[in-house]
Amino acid sequence: MYTASDLRKGLRIMLDDDPYIVVDFQFVKPGKGQSLYRCKLRNLLVGTMVDRTFREVDTFKPADMQEKTMQFLYREGDHYNFMDTESYEQIHLMEEQIGDAKNFLIDNMEVRILLFRDRPIDITLPNFVDLVVTEAPPWIKGDTVSGNYKPVILETGYKVAVPPFIEQGEKIRIDTRSGEYLTRVKE
């Protein structure tokens, strides 16, 4: 059982007998008032979004799901195809089910696919992925002020802010949970 204080982005819970994932989460507490947990949730079966506000006393069942390791094969339109690394069985997820994960998916990457009653419904990426910078503005020499940053584009098309010394062709590590740059990867 989860309580309201366990709510966070990415948590999967049962709500009215359907599995949902928390896609946006805001803790609010008016002065002297009670804690409120405002959530935007996506129904993992049909993809619809709902807004719900929970109180401290509310509890939730975790969504009971199976998880399998699969390899990302290729994308075809809005179908993302994966292969079970044990059974070699292939499945696909739709683009809206993939969500932000599409920013970090590269061919042959191993991911965790979630199944609810044998139906693939969601994806979990490794916490860290290494991606190549395909477009970067040049490093202006002398710009060494710590805290400065510049936008670059990665091989997946994802835009991210990085320190000024990162150059085109380099590999960087991204935290897939926050979508933020972590460090430069030396090969």
């Binding site: 204080s5 989460f25 805001q26 803790f27 609010v28 507490k29 008016p30 002065g31 002297k32 008032g33 009670q34 804690s35 409120l36 405002r38 506000t53 401290e56 006393v57 710590s146 805290g147 940053y149 320190p163 933020e180 740059y181 972590l182 460090t183 430069r184």
Partner: protein, 307 residues
Amino acid sequence: MNTDWKLSRRKVALETRAALIQAVREFFLSRNYLEVETPQRIPAPAPEAHIDAFLSEEWFLQTSPEVCMKRMLAAGYPRIFQICRCFRRHERGDRHLPEFTMLEWYRAGIDYHDLMEECEDLFLFLVGKMRGERSLEYRGEKIDLGKPWGRISVRDAFDLFATISMTVSLEKGLFDETLVRDIEPRLGRGKPTFLYDYPAALGALARTKRQDKGLAERFEIYLSGLEIANGFSELTDPDEQRRRFEEENRRRRLAGKGVCPLPDRFLESLRHLPESAGIALGVDRLAMIFCDASSIDEVVAFTPEEL
């Protein structure tokens, strides 16, 4: 390779925050306030239905310096301020940290309306010091800090912005939800707003209005929908205060929460508390406004998750 890049990126915000805190000090010192320090670890915080204190051995970490500061006020310190750490369990979000910095100040001989004016003066001083102007931009919205700010009573705000009245929302137990969803986002737009005269049950340490015992002389400051301070005329009646604390504890018990011991010495000291008003202002949120930050994470060196 610098792996604490996130921390490096906060440098500008942390410099702004430090300058802001210096300016706050300057304001209060120029008005003959005494800066005080009271213990963070205390035997009994003020019991409140929805604020949970961390245990520290058999004592508690303060959820606010209110109890100690009001004892000082009662003992003959008429103008005091403090910038200190406060701790509240289970509070974490874009605007909340379980450990945060509070500015509190108390002043004898004034009521909550006088205190609202002092808040206006403080912000005008800060923006003048930090920006050399009387306005600032927060999240793309220009906020004019010139006097007077907007003032609206809680009752009027419900009538204006919500679909149910304040009274009905209290009866149905929907006060907090309605406030958060329908009212707060509309406050402090273009200039700050004082939301004032709260239901008496929502001001455990505030004096009630002489003309209407159902309302507490309490206000909150909103800026661009963000709540940043809570002030009130102080309750000076120890018997009434004890009843209110017992009521707060009763509500805690109903919610299955631990009951707090009563701060007896504080209650005794209320006999000597002069007519006064006091306020708690979230320094991290103040820094968010001056740093144009959307999350409290951006204005502290470390969030609990980063430790």
